[in-house]
Symmetry: C2
Subunit: 353 residues, 2 copies
C-alpha cells in the first residue's frame, strides 16, 4: 500500500480538568509537556506517526480557543487542516466533520483517529501496529479499534471483548468484536483480565474514509445529512461560517454509541505498545520515571528530603524543596499551587472550581 492516502485525525478539544493546575481550561493537558520530556502530548501524538502519515495529511479537530496553541505546537500541520468545532458535541460529530472534509480532498483516504492526550511508551511498536491496521482497512470495509492488552484490572477504562473463535482473522492478529463493555467495577475488571479475550478500549480507530462515511450514513443519518450538505463549502472560505451555523445542530453522541456498538464489521487489533490515557495523576506517576523512593518529578530544580511516592510537577525555572511528604501530588502552574494526597485526586475538579 502506498502511504500517500494515510491520514491522521487528532481529536484535541478536551479540557483536561483532572490535572489542574498543571492543566487549565486555557491550556489543557494535550498542550502540556506532562512528562517533562520537552514535547507536549499533542506533539508526541504527531511524532509517533512519523513515517506513517505525511504532515500535510495530519488533521486536528479542536475548538477556536485552542487554535493558536495547535498552530504554535504543530507548525508542520497546514492551517487548513485545523478544524474548529464551534461547540462540543462529543466524538461522533467531530469525526463526521473531519471525515467528510477529508473525503472531499482525498476519496481514497485511510484514517487513523486518535486522542491528543494519550501516552505511548513504545512508538516503534505503535507504528508497526498502526501500519498493519491501515493495510487491513485499505483493503476492507473494516472498522478497527486498537485494543490494549490489559496489565491490571483497571476500572478507569472501557473494555472490548474479542471473538477469538474467528480463526481466519486470528492469523492477521485482528479479531471481530464480540461486545463493548463500559468501565467495570473492580470485581468485573478482575473477571475480564482472567479471560484473554478482553482488551482495553484505547479510543484509537482505523478505517477508510469511505467506511466511516458510509457507517455514519447508515447509523447516524441526521449527522451524515448535515455534513453531506456542507460538502460544497468545505475547503473554501465559507467553511467556518457554515460549520459554526450547522455543527451545533448535531446530536451530542460518542462514536462508540453512534457507530461502534451498532455496526457489524467491527474489529479489534490487540496491541501492546505501552499505552495509557494518562487520565489521572495516579496513572501519570506509574508511567513516569521514578526515583528509588517512588517519586516522579517533572522540574529541573526540585530537592526532596524524606519524601516518597510523590508526583511533583513544576516549571523549569521554579525551585522547590519538599521535606517529609508521602503519597502527595505537588503541582504548580503559573500562579497556582496544588498540594493534595494522591488518594484524593478525584476531588481536584472540586478544588479547582
Amino acid at each position: 500500500m502506498s502511504r500517500e492516502h494515510n491520514h491522521l485525525v487528532i481529536m484535541a478539544g478536551g479540557v483536561g480538568s483532572r490535572f489542574w493546575p498543571m492543566s487549565t481550561p486555557e491550556c489543557p493537558k494535550q498542550f502540556i509537556d506532562v512528562m517533562g520530556c520537552g514535547r507536549t502530548f499533542i506533539q508526541l501524538t504527531v511524532d509517533r506517526f512519523e513515517g506513517v502519515v505525511e504532515p500535510q495529511n495530519v488533521w486536528v479537530v479542536t475548538s477556536e480557543k485552542y487554535a493558536g496553541l495547535v498552530k504554535e505546537q504543530l507548525p508542520q500541520v497546514p492551517e487548513g487542516n485545523i478544524l474548529l468545532e464551534p461547540c462540543r458535541r462529543n466524538t461522533a460529530p467531530c469525526i463526521a466533520y473531519v471525515a467528510w472534509r477529508i473525503k472531499k480532498q482525498d476519496p481514497q483516504a485511510n484514517l487513523v483517529v486518535a486522542p491528543s492526550d494519550h501516552l505511548v511508551l513504545n512508538p516503534e511498536e505503535f507504528r508497526k501496529v498502526v501500519l498493519r491496521a491501515l493495510d487491513f482497512t485499505a483493503e476492507t470495509d473494516a472498522i478497527v479499534t486498537l485494543g490494549m492488552k490489559p496489565t491490571r484490572p483497571e476500572t478507569g477504562y472501557g473494555y472490548i471483548q474479542a471473538d477469538h473463535s474467528a480463526a481466519s482473522l486470528r492469523n492477521k492478529g485482528i479479531f471481530r468484536v464480540d461486545s463493548f463493555r463500559e468501565k467495570p467495577n473492580l470485581e468485573t475488571a478482575k473477571e475480564y483480565i482472567k479471560h484473554k479475550e478482553y482488551y482495553w478500549n484505547s479510543g484509537i480507530f482505523v478505517w477508510s474514509v469511505n467506511t466511516i462515511v458510509n457507517a455514519l450514513r447508515i447509523y447516524q443519518s441526521e449527522i451524515a445529512d448535515i455534513f453531506e450538505n456542507l460538502l460544497p463549502v468545505m475547503g473554501t472560505s465559507k467553511e467556518q461560517a457554515a460549520i459554526d451555523k450547522e455543527f451545533p445542530k448535531c446530536p451530542n453522541i460518542s462514536i462508540d454509541y453512534a457507530v461502534m456498538e451498532k455496526a457489524d464489521e467491527i474489529f479489534v487489533m490487540p496491541a501492546d505498545f505501552g499505552w495509557s490515557d494518562v487520565g489521572t495523576w495516579g496513572s501519570l506517576i506509574t508511567l513516569a520515571n521514578r526515583d528509588a523512593q517512588g517519586n516522579a518529578v517533572v522540574g529541573e530544580n526540585v530537592q526532596l528530603y524524606e519524601t516518597r511516592n510523590c508526583m511533583v510537577h513544576t516549571s523549569q525555572e521554579r525551585r522547590v524543596v519538599i521535606q517529609g511528604l508521602d503519597g502527595y501530588i505537588v503541582a504548580e502552574k503559573d500562579n497556582t499551587l496544588l498540594i493534595c494526597k494522591l488518594s484524593e485526586e478525584q476531588r481536584i475538579k472540586e478544588f479547582s472550581a
Copy 2:
C-alpha cells in the same frame, strides 16, 4: 522629661536565613510583611515608637545591600540617619558607631536600641514601658534591658536573672541584674520559670548616649578609640569612606559580652507586651491568627481541605490549594516553594543552601 532627646536605634543588618524562602539574603525577614498585616517588621518596629521618638530621631544601622529597602520602607527617616556597616561585626561595634554618631549631634540623647525583626502584640503597653525606661535612663547612668515575663520554658532565648532583693528599685518596677544566662536546655528553662526572677532577654536596650559611650570607653577601649577618632568626619560627606576603612578593624563581639556582662549599673525592666523574636516558623504560627484547625495563613487566595496545624505563607496574587496536610510549613516567595514539616524547620538553612 522632654521627648526631643529620645532616639530610636534599629539594628537591621540580619539575614533571616531561618525563614527561607519567605526571607532571603536579598530581602530578609525585617523587610517582609511576615504577619500579612500590610506592614513589614521594620515598619512595625518604627510604628510602635509613635509618640515616643520623632521620625528625625530614628536611626537605622544596616548594610549597604539593604539601604534601598530601608529608604523605601521608612521614607520618614532622614537618609543621613541610615548608617551602613561595611561588614558585620555583631552588635557592639554597630551600637558604638551609632552612639558616637548621635552623641555628636545630640549630646543629651536618650536611646532605645531595638532589633528590627521582633514582634510586639501590645504596642500600647510597649510604649508605656519604654517611656518609663527612658525616664529612668535620662536621670541615671543606668543600662537597662527590657526583660520579658516568660510564658513557657523557652529554650530559644537567653534569660536575665533579676535581683529582686533590691527593694528600693522594685517600686519603680526596675531591678538590678544578677546575671545573664545563655539559652538553657529544657530542664534548666523549666527551673528558671519556676523562679519569678528570671526574664527573657529581649535584646531591647535603653540608655543615655553618655552612659553607653562611657561604658564602651571603659570596657571596650579598642572599639571606643575607633569611633572617637572618627568623630570629626561623622555627619560629613567623608563619613562613609572613613567608616568603610575603620569599621572592619572592630572586634566581632556582641553588646551583651562587650558591656552588659561586665558593667555594674545594669538593670532589667520586666515587661509584658506580647513580645517575640519570631525566630522560627513554629513561633510564627503561635503568634499568628489561626483558624479552628490551627492553621495560620498569610495569603489572600488559599483554600485548605483536611489541613491542620499548618503555616502557609504566600503572596497575595498566588492561588494555593492544600489538601490533607498536618503540621507543615508551606512557604512561597518569588520563584521558590518550600514544603517542610514544622518539626524539621531547623533544617531549613541546610535546604536553602
